[in-house]
């Protein structure tokens, strides 16, 4: 069975989808990612779909699920590099992935994750200051 590799980069996990997705493969990715976030305590997940030419309602739902599931595990998910044609199709289909963060490319996705986590840390610091 095909498997989509998950790379670890510091506090983040990076997934680059390079193959044509079918349902089973997408479901496996969901399971693998959630397990990996749990195991590594990663704070962010970056999914690069710039090589993906088709995202239908099922895969769209998987992306949304991954975002919600990792959020429960205290990690943010950013989907990066969506093709224009894929974005237009998803909107027409009625899926706006409102719970998922997006960015133009991996670099900006990383930056977005940094600020998300950074602002969390600041909050903790603020609290700490407050109690002193």
């Amino acid at each position: 069975m095909d498997k989509i590799p998950i790379l670890r980069m510091g506090p983040f996990l990076l997934v680059t989808i390079q193959v044509d997705l079918y349902d089973r493969l997408a479901l496996n990715l969901e399971t693998d990612l959630v397990n990996m976030v749990h195991k590594t305590g990663a704070r962010g997940v970056l999914i690069d779909i710039s090589a993906v030419s088709i995202v239908d309602s099922f895969m769209g739902r998987i992306l949304g699920n991954i975002a919600s599931m990792t959020r429960v595990l205290d990690a943010e998910t950013v989907v990066v590099g969506m093709q224009p044609a894929v974005a237009i199709t998803l909107i027409e289909l009625g899926l706006s992935l409102s719970g998922v963060y997006t960015a133009l490319d991996v670099e900006r996705g990383m930056a977005l994750l940094q600020t998300k986590i950074g602002s969390d840390d600041e909050l903790i610091d603020d609290d700490a200051d407050h109690t002193e």
Binding site: D23, I54, T89
Partner: protein, 137 residues
């Protein structure tokens, strides 16, 4: 008058078959010069319908045709299965309705992606869904 210019058929028996189907549809769409966005919409629609077919009927067949009407050229896909059929088509076509555990965007969402959409179903005998996407649709 709708004229069929070429015909091709692909059998769907398992989930992975959706990949060659997508490739075949893409090939045909590229050949007639369909734009990238319309290609993507058509292939996504096909992907949705194959999932329905696999989920409710298990197996089925997809007919890929290049058709023309007047100055338009397009791709027509016919999905036929011998599954349980759909009892209430109007209900199935409503946004948000689903008997399976999906979002219920399947049929109505698919309809929005293509230019023409028709569905025939007989309970106990099977379902046939036909979609058509024009090159410049």
């Amino acid at each position: 008058m709708l004229i069929t210019l070429s015909k091709d058929s692909i059998a769907i028996t398992r989930e992975q078959d959706v990949v060659p189907l997508r490739n075949r549809v893409k090939e045909v769409a590229v050949k007639i010069g369909m734009g990238l966005v319309n290609q993507t919409k058509l292939i996504t629609a096909a992907s949705e319908l194959v999932r329905n077919m696999l989920r409710y009927a298990g197996t089925g067949n997809v007919l890929i045709e290049v058709v023309s009407r007047g100055r338009d050229t397009g791709v027509r896909l016919t999905f036929s299965d011998k599954g349980p059929g759909i009892a209430d088509i109007n209900l199935a076509m409503q946004d948000g309705y689903s008997t399976g555990k999906s979002l219920g965007l399947g049929l109505p969402g698919t309809k929005r992606l293509v230019n023409e959409f028709s569905i025939q179903s007989v309970v106990g005998q099977g379902t046939t869904v036909t979609i058509l996407k024009w090159k410049n649709g």
